[in-house]
């Protein structure tokens, strides 16, 4: 086994060696600019981009013309949200989103507010899913866009894409989803799911960093976004800038591999995830955050009450995971996603996120289980909160000397 064990595949995935192999020629001999129309260097680059665009489109069930390559999902979210707002604000200025979205969505929405738009931030239920009646109630005659992520990056909870898109369609509202964590992991089909715009990125599915895409529907309805990056008019005028040819080739290859292997991979990962989760839940006062039925197959977010997440990560240094605690930031605020679920502060500060991936092995899961169990035990031995809990003291009755 190689240490540390990587269980943080929600933040990024390692590149599949097959992806790297596909990319290498485009750093070397095939270095051409895909927009150069006058020579073979440009032609071969363009051909490679076209092929990759097909691979990407096929994975999500759209046509290649509907794929706009970007630098990643953050840019795709910005382009979708601000681009739709700028294109359609003569029809209305209202956008609906959810408080548990990624910062790229939330901050793009904040920017829209500064531009004169209005944004409704829905609160999810405590399992992380939104209430459809809340969504319906938030719709006004000024609503032009609903943006709700496919699968959450911290807790893996899936939203009901089809119900949301049906509601959007019924009201003539565009529907954008940030599907960064879902594409390549579970079947995502923009037609069946009724999605009008969709952001996703290569580096969450074993492709390279620095390349992503925005799917923009061309039929029923034809959607347009105002470009946020102006220049040579690449990507049908929606995103200028010389195409990242090696990155795009790698993205295409990553999509192709996911398409071929997703079904097997998802069942393998969910079996391992479930084993990890079942074992860790044998620890006293351990809780899974988020809905366990509607969830990405490779994610587990677990709170170990009375131990602090960052301290716990230090005790589990042989495994690379992520914590919902934000002790490193000056704010001392724990994860806003977990807070949005209504978690108590001590639970929100006590969470670890496990993100399994293509290269995760059963041995690594075994190691992680034991390692986390030991660390939780050790830290509880030194936790005053654990001692109080064991003494039957209700922590809520204590007057904390807050700082």
């Amino acid at each position: 086994m190689k240490f540390p064990i990587y269980l943080d595949n929600n933040s990024t995935t390692p590149m599949d060696p097959r992806v790297l192999d596909a990319m290498l020629p485009f750093f070397n001999d095939k270095f051409g600019n895909a927009a150069s129309r006058n020579h073979s260097f440009g032609w071969s680059a363009e051909e490679a981009v076209d092929y990759a665009r097909e691979q990407v489109a096929r994975l999500v069930g759209c046509t290649s013309k509907e794929i706009i390559f970007t630098s990643g999902a953050t840019e795709a979210n910005n382009l979708a949200i601000k681009g739709v707002y700028e294109m359609y604000n003569s029809r209305g200025n209202h956008i609906i989103t959810v408080s548990t979205e990624h910062k790229a969505t939330l901050d793009a929405c904040k920017k829209v507010e500064k531009m004169g738009g209005e944004v409704t931030y829905l609160s999810p239920n405590e399992d992380g899913r939104i209430n459809m009646t809340d969504l319906e109630a938030a719709i006004t005659d000024k609503t032009i866009l609903i943006t709700i992520m496919y699968g959450n990056n911290e807790i893996g909870v899936l939203q009901d894409m089809r119900a949301i898109s049906a509601l959007a369609k019924k009201n003539g509202i565009l529907f954008h989803t940030d599907a960064t964590q879902a594409v390549g992991k579970i079947p995502v089909d923009v037609q069946a799911d009724g999605i009008d715009l969709m952001s996703f990125t290569a580096h969450k599915m074993y492709g390279p960093k620095g390349v992503g895409a925005l799917y923009v529907r061309r039929k029923n309805p034809r959607v347009k976004v105002t470009s946020q990056m102006d220049g040579g008019g690449h990507e049908r005028g929606m995103r200028s800038g010389t195409l990242n040819v090696p990155g795009i080739v790698g993205f295409g290859k990553a999509c192709e591999i996911c398409q071929n292997e997703m079904a097997d991979e998802a069942s393998r990962l969910s079996a391992m995830r479930n084993r990890l989760e079942t074992e860790l839940l044998t620890i006293e006062e351990a809780y899974v955050n988020g809905n366990r039925e509607f969830r990405l197959p490779h994610v587990a977010n677990i709170s170990f009450k009375f131990v602090e997440g960052e301290g716990l990560m230090m005790g589990t240094k042989d495994i690379a995971v992520s914590s919902g605690s934000a002790c490193t930031s000056a704010s001392l605020e724990p994860s806003y996603v977990l807070k949005s679920l209504g978690l108590d502060d001590e639970l929100a500060h006590s969470s670890l996120r496990f993100g399994l991936g293509r290269f995760t092995t059963e041995d690594e899961i075994d190691y992680a289980i034991n390692h986390v169990k030991e660390a939780v035990h050790k830290l509880r031995e030194m936790s005053p909160l654990w001692e109080m809990f064991k003494d039957g003291i209700d922590l809520k009755t204590i007057e904390w000397a807050e700082h």
């Binding site: 602090e308 960052e310 605690s325 001392l332 502060d345 500060h349 031995e381 030194m382 005053p384 700082h403």
Partner: protein, 138 residues
């Protein structure tokens, strides 16, 4: 963020974890921080009545590695000190000793607060006036 070697050492081999009898008249307890801030530190001292020397110190901490290390170090420093000398421990000495980065300075502040709170708890039990902190952190 990388932790300093000393923080890692205290985290891996914490000194003086434990609990003293908080009802005892010779024991002072300081409990600072709050669960929602992600840090709770409890520091206890046991004072020798005759000499006024701290003969034992224990801690338990809920928090990150730097918080655990700060309180562990504090117990090490407290043992063998007079109560008066203990009152002089400054958070910046902890910062220096553990090479804490700026975002972790609050861990040392908590430790200093816990020391002062424990001493004052002891003083009150002894029928003495609590000592006002001369330095305000917040």
């Amino acid at each position: 963020m990388a932790y300093s070697e000393k923080v890692i050492d205290h985290y891996q081999n914490p000194r003086n974890i434990g609990t003293l009898d908080k009802e005892s008249k010779t024991v002072g307890t300081g409990l600072v921080g709050a669960p929602e801030c992600g840090d709770v530190m409890r520091l206890q001292i046991e004072v020798d009545d005759a000499t006024g020397i701290i003969k034992d110190a224990k801690f338990k901490t809920f928090g990150c590695g730097s918080a655990i290390a700060s309180s562990s170090l504090a117990t090490e420093w407290l043992k063998g000190k007079s109560v008066e000398a203990a009152m002089e421990i400054d958070n910046m000495e902890i910062v220096e000793e553990l090479a804490l980065p700026p975002v972790k300075i609050h861990c040392s502040v908590l430790a200093e607060d816990a020391i002062k709170m424990a001493i004052n708890d002891y003083r009150v039990k002894q029928g003495l006036e609590p000592i006002e902190a001369t330095k305000k952190h917040y």
